[in-house]
Symmetry: C2
Subunit: 460 residues, 2 copies
């Protein structure tokens, strides 16, 4: 609920996606993905306007008909030129800023700031201009504008210039890097980026660690920093509980139980993404099999990992490595009636939720992660007092650490030891920890998160 | 000269190396490499004792005969068990700490802190113990101990415990990373490392940037930091001038002139090392050929790059990439009488110095580099008022920036533009800049550097 306040949400991907039905008519669906579903739930019924890019052909067809009235909000789709959008999205957003903020570049080889990259940066600026223009166009006098993620960093300055009456804030869903990492960017680009963000009234992050890094970078690059705020995004408890209670999920769980039998299950649910640390997760599992023979044949590792960003060569290579490693470990350790790793690479949400219901140990071991909602989602739907093994480099670590087993994600043998501790933890302690995690996971609603963004816009 | 002071130098690689002559007798040579030759020159005649590892079979044969008296100093060789030395050197020193301090890990894949790594860390500690024991053994009462580089970080605490009468300081030849990068290490290892360094009276670096990073890391890990000092190592001007004046160098220069003809020459001289940014150097050259047709056939890029650390798979792969890229660019652009890139991968110091005498543009574009002496060595021996194109991420940038053309090493098109500016710079400006660079490069002697290390030991 957002009473007495005119709100515009701006994000690259919107809360609705469109498709064509069997006879070519437009069909509207709720979009998948963290931001859209979580913030979408909060915005429902608020009367807010949501500005987002028309990404698919169906999105464009819908956009051509004007804005769309949905459950209590209005969607304004932005149609961007295809080539510009690809450079904005692939080269700068996914290919540069995402890597930069996660500090995940293999620096001897990437990035390569060349003339094509410079063109892409111009496209990034231009797409940000189009978002800013659209937002300026639809915002009421004095409206509050909530802009999301690394795709739209420059919108702050652009909106401040066009519409000084608006109160705009930003929220980053990624981590933020340290000043030496920012030096990868050409100086003029770095200045433009931080001046862009300084146009917001405040910049929000999932963790004080990311906010502190951002302020240090902004100080280093432009000599000052906008205010920052910290606000943990909630898991969408209702949504995931609905899926957990669905017949589709029950079917998936039955099939999973069939394969796991009476064994213990380590589970992970992740996009196949460089930050998620899938390789070291498998190495840790193999270390466990090697050094703790009592777990052989008694444990399976159900890895629900689905492809992501397959347009980037890096991601295709990583997917291959993940698959090869899992196969190699299975070849090394499998017996006639036991497959150590159940690798599921299909993008099936009901199946992932089934795995979360069934885990004895949930492995969440990212190298670096803005937040990581899976850790909370697991706590909400798990039915076995499963233990959370959690990387200290995830934003969600700040609030869940006390009830999880903490790991350094680079430490493979340390991760194996933590998994062994989790697998052998006494029932009482498991129960107590699981209850505490669940309590934290359901305590925050998407309305809280939205309220904190609005507060940031009005207190600074 | 080190009057009235008893000094012990401790480093992994010593100032002498041994070999077997044709009839099996031991032959003593001055060791190659920056630290040994630079500090060696300063220590000559000081009466200091130098503790270093016996690395080759001949080193061990020499060590078996006891300490070696050389030109005014005494070498005490330390014989370390082969397996322990390999883990100390390959896994921890070259394979972990070097990457860490340069922030050059491809984090989704490396490092992998596993049980083998833990064994290697124990070996690193044990080899450090052996160095500390040897130093404690040979040091006079109240002696000053100068310990060098990332191989021997723990010696500080060990010496402080064994011999509180000694004054020991450390000097790092690498950069130092930021606190988030240090989190790659397991906590107990990070604490041991910074407690080890806190045992020194002071820790020295080539640049205030590395010193500031070190202090921030030490504060983050153990809550306090030892004092730091900054001292730029000098180029060994006498040594490189001697080589430049040698008949061997004259012969190499003639052969190089033959290939270059009346064209302008861009030169680089580097070990093939991930930090040196060889790939982007070639990409920048190709950008120049592509966008500035006037340079085609008129410029060659003489790259004197010699293999390094070929025991590491990563380095072998990188060498392949470097070679393939150079070949591909030559295939794309070469004409009947012009080969754009002259790639020389032999380790021939006289040939490298010949290239430094001949450059019109010296490209020094590391991703990150503790100091980089080539920039100074080039200024000393160059005979054509050549222009220095210098990465802002090299330690030496602090003192040479004003007279060089600065680049962001990730910025390929920016690097190409800087090279074009250098190639077309007016003679007067070239002359003035080259003179200024030469003046700075010869201003400091190795005695100055040694004196600053001793001062750091006695002022803190």
């Amino acid at each position: 609920m957002v009473p007495q306040m005119s709100v515009v949400v701006v994000s690259n991907r919107g809360p609705l996606s469109f498709g064509f039905g069997s006879d070519g008519e437009l069909v509207t669906r709720r979009a998948a993905g963290g931001l859209a579903s979580t913030l979408g739930a909060a915005v429902q019924g608020s009367g807010a306007t949501w500005v987002a890019a028309a990404i698919t052909e169906a999105d464009r067809a819908a956009a051509a008909k004007g804005s769309v009235e949905a459950e209590g909000f209005r969607l304004e789709s932005l149609v961007v030129d295809d080539d510009a959008y690809r450079m904005f999205y692939d080269v700068i957003s996914s290919g540069t800023l995402w890597y930069l903020f996660h500090n995940l570049f293999d620096l001897p080889r990437r990035p390569r700031i060349d003339r094509r990259w410079r063109e892409a940066w111009a496209a990034y600026r231009s797409v940000n201009e189009q978002f800013a223009a659209k937002a300026a166009d639809v915002a009421d006098e004095g409206a509050t504008v909530l802009v999301h993620d690394y795709h739209l960093l420059l919108v702050g300055r652009m909106l401040a210039d066009r519409r000084p009456d608006l109160r705009s804030v930003h929220f980053s869903h990624t981590p933020f890097c340290e000043p030496m990492t920012i030096r990868v960017l050409p100086d003029d680009v770095a200045v433009e980026l931080f001046e862009g963000m300084a146009g917001y009234r405040s910049c929000g992050f999932h963790s004080p660690r990311w906010a502190a890094n951002f302020r240090a970078c902004s100080e280093a690059v432009i000599g000052h920093t906008p205010p920052t705020y910290v606000s943990y995004a909630p898991a969408d408890a209702d949504d995931i509980s609905d899926v957990a209670a669905s017949p589709a999920c029950a079917e998936q769980l039955a099939s999973l139980e069939n394969r796991i039998g009476d064994r213990q299950a380590i589970v992970r649910v992740d996009r196949i993404e460089l930050s998620k640390n899938l390789l070291r997760g498998f190495h840790a599992f193999e270390d466990l099999l090697q050094h703790r023979p009592e777990f052989r044949q008694r444990v399976v590792f159900a890895a629900s990992v689905y492809p992501s960003r397959e347009g980037l060569a890096d991601y295709l290579a990583y997917r291959q490595e993940v698959q090869s490693l899992a196969e190699r470990i299975n070849e090394t350790w499998a017996t006639a009636d036991w497959t150590p790793i159940l690798l599921d690479m299909s993008d099936n949400f009901a199946r992932s939720v089934a795995a979360l219901r069934r885990y004895d140990v949930l492995l969440v071991n990212p190298i670096r992660d803005g937040l990581n909602l899976v850790a909370k989602e697991g706590a909400i739907v798990n039915e076995r007092d499963g233990v959370l093994v959690l990387s200290r480099e995830a934003g969600v670590y700040d609030v869940l650490a006390e009830h999880a087993l903490a790991i350094n994600p680079f430490d493979v043998s340390g991760t194996a030891d933590a998994i062994a501790d989790a697998l052998t933890m006494a029932g009482d302690e498991r129960k107590q920890r699981a209850a505490a995690l669940r309590e934290i996971a359901v305590a925050r609603s998407s309305a809280d998160w939205l309220a904190e963004q609005l507060e940031a816009a009005h207190s600074s």
